[in-house]
Amino acid sequence: MITAPRYVGIDLGTTNSTAAVFDGDRVTLVRNAQGGHLTPSIVRIDARGGLTIGARARRYLESDPENTRSEFKRLMGTGQELLFPASGRRLRPQELSAELLRALRADIEEQFGFVPDHAVISVPALFELPQSDATAEAARLAGFQRIELIQEPIASALAAGWTAEESAGAWLVYDLGGGTFDVSLLETRDGLLRVIGHDGDNFLGGRDFDWALVEWALGKIKEQSGLDLSRADPAHAPALRKLKLAAEEAKIELTRAERTTLSIPALTLHQGAPYDLDLPIDRATLERLCAPIIDRSVEVCRRLLAAHGLAPGGLDHVVMVGGPSVTPLVRQRVSAGLGVALSDGLDPMTLVAQGAAIYAATAGLDARPSASDVQPGHRVWLHYPAMSSDLTPHVVGRLVEPKAPGAPTQLRLRRGDDLWEGPWADIDAEASFILSTSLLARRANVFRIEARAADGKPVEVSPPAITIVQGLTIHDPPLSRTIGVALANDQVRVYFERGAPLPARRTFTLYTVAGVIRGSEDDALKIPIVQGEYDEAHFCRLVGALVITGKDLKDSLPSGSEIEMTLELDRGGRLSARALIPALAQVFEDVAQLLVPLADPEVLAATFDVVRGRIAGLRADAFRRGAIAQLDRLSAVQADLDAAHVDLEAARGGDADAAQKARRALLEIDADLEQLELDRRWPELDREARESTIWASSWVSELGLPHEQRLLDETMKALDKARQERDPLELQRQLRLVSRLGNTASLRHPEAWSRRFESAASEISGATDLVKAQALVKEGREALARGDQGALRAVTQKLWQLLPSDVERRRLGYDSGVR
């Protein structure tokens, strides 16, 4: 008897985790010991080191918060250890996740009678490499032999598409979870799912509703009793924790009820006496508090649609996922904001786990422990898709022992329902064969393998049958965020675009910008690997670096040496890198894998001040110029900064998650400011471009050679293009060329050096050594008065050397030593 395969999918959520098992026809949700499908992602360790997980641990969240941890998913990849004081144990976030996974694994064994070895685990679409790595490690620690990661929105879409009658068209998956918001645009054509784009916010979710409610409650408490509780004060943390739990309960209750009360007896001590909280709240209040948060999420959806040229009405399906998405207001605002009806009949809480299980089938990850059952018959190796959208996929195979007596010479497949049988396929000289199939749509198809020997007698083969599931599939897991190498000019050499199919490997030739002397310890070549969607390296997350010091080198490496840098990602998104230096025939492979940097509140505060200063500067400038549009945009940025301030305060109070959120927010604000700055500078740059071209073309037409004239025409064309496309870097590059042409021509003029001197002299305020520069200017003026062109020339050249260079830029690009 052939047992059907079992595919396991796990949604490892911030708040709740779920497991599901797919057998090719149906998805079954795994029940936990309490009989529910959702296992709260909470771990408790008591004084004796005993572990409690899930709903039972949740009960201690209030009474024993020190030893009960939740929301550790948000710290994945940070390397921060969490202390359980009662037992004295310190666990990393991935170790806590591993405990959770172990519990789910046990639940599966309980219900299905086998311990899964393989599984698919979902991660938020915007997870970065260190976070994905940590998830994979958690699975390993939990005892899984092989796992694959899938992004949550893809899982949701797969699950939704699997059940939908009509799946073709554009899909939007709106996944608002406990702490993260993911939105993905997908497209299905011919039964294949394709991710068109992702967007989202790693720091937006149900928690924000809770905190909004808490802030509101704090205001009310202060108003009513003068009790001032603050998130920035660690002493208030216990009270705030209780308040947040109550707020969450109230929020959930308000999805159904119209009003409820926030009541916590003995919330804290106030003026020496216990303070009991009893605060009525109605749905309208909650909705008023949450509306801005929801609108932010809808805005992200629109941004995503716009980025792919889709009008809001152009969607065919909108799938709502995650706890908060059951809130009526959320459904209503999303539906209105996107102008489409929401798909219904899907369980927002378990959809991700279901999709992960279906994806496990696509990836061929049968979870049953590989049975070493030796079945009788001639062994064949087979290769086929475990799940296929194609109705007639090929099955490729090879006989293991073609020389064995009585080996088959022909094979074919017969479908389990006996309504279809394939043509006989011959076995070729390499003992291989290709079999045709015919699948029934949307179900698991079992095929028996029939074989016959040269004399026409049937022969037994092993395995005797295979199963292929027909349905919506996605072939290769896509990369969640663009990965590249930071270059010395703060640009990014993109290796893999977001959405690139995994596994992937790519090699680029990079060039060193400075020499590295053999044997020198101080000399190091650093190749930073970054992840993110920005063009400037310093806005992207540094996820790893390959450092080659002079001590590692067989010989000195001059600047401009070639480095063949290969980045490789496996199916799970794990990164490895390899740098080959052809001139030395040396290979370097150890990448310093980086963790998500811990966000130190002090550093954050300092950054915060810098950003605030920058905004103030820009604002003053905008006022002076009367640039209303700029001012509007600056106020928006200011609002973001104020929001970040709340998190910064919470970070001071010891909330590591809020610290991460603040860090990210500050980085994004910084990027916004950069854009603003560029917009401000653009007219200036543009003017400079126009002036330079006029200046250069007059020189070239007067003193230039014919080929210089031609070159100038070409360059001006390129310059115009850069201006139209608002590409500042390209513009500057072309501008350099233009001025070089103009310079070359102008040099032929007898007074060339006096002009150059004047222009250099006008820039000395930025000189590295102002005193020396001023002395040079004086000397130059004297030479000018004497009419000594040679001296003037020498002075000007010395002056040039004092003017600022591109050191600053390189520092921004994570000190990259390559270009």
Partner: protein
């Protein structure tokens, strides 16, 4: 600066299909070729391009099919594939170079590729004298 000429790693050539192939045909073929490579079948080991046969790898196949799934990328590749790849059998062309970027990887100073001396001894080619280093008792580099 990827080093492979476009014609060498053209997705349609990699899959051995014409630009008119349907999406399902492409997927099916990719799936089949991946299977054949997995089982080590030599018939799938190389593909024909106008630049001579090239080695087919699972990576190339996956990249090819991923490219062809995106409509605008497919359109671009259709243009490149407008020249049909030559029939694979009678190809006395330069032997397949295992590195996909072969035509660009010429090192002028490197010794000539091993097949040139036998196949094309140009009639008045000047002689080489590899023993010249020994003449001065130097080690041959």
């Amino acid at each position: 600066m990827s080093t492979s000429p476009h014609q060498a790693i053209q997705p349609f050539y990699v899959l051995g299909l014409a630009p008119a192939a349907t999406r399902a045909e492409l997927e099916r073929e990719a799936q089949k070729l991946l299977g054949m490579l997995e089982l080590g079948l030599s018939s799938a080991a190389s593909y024909a391009t106008p630049l001579g046969p090239r080695q087919r790898t699972p990576e190339l196949i996956r990249q090819a099919i991923a490219e062809l799934r995106i409509p605008e990328r497919r359109l671009l590749h259709e243009l490149w594939a407008a020249l049909p790849a030559p029939a694979p059998q009678p190809q006395p062309q330069p032997a397949a170079d295992p590195s996909p970027g072969a035509p660009y990887r010429d090192h002028p100073a490197a010794p000539p590729p091993p097949h040139t001396p036998q196949t094309a001894p140009a009639p008045e080619a000047a002689p080489t004298f590899p023993g010249a280093f020994e003449l001065f008792a130097w080690r041959r580099p």
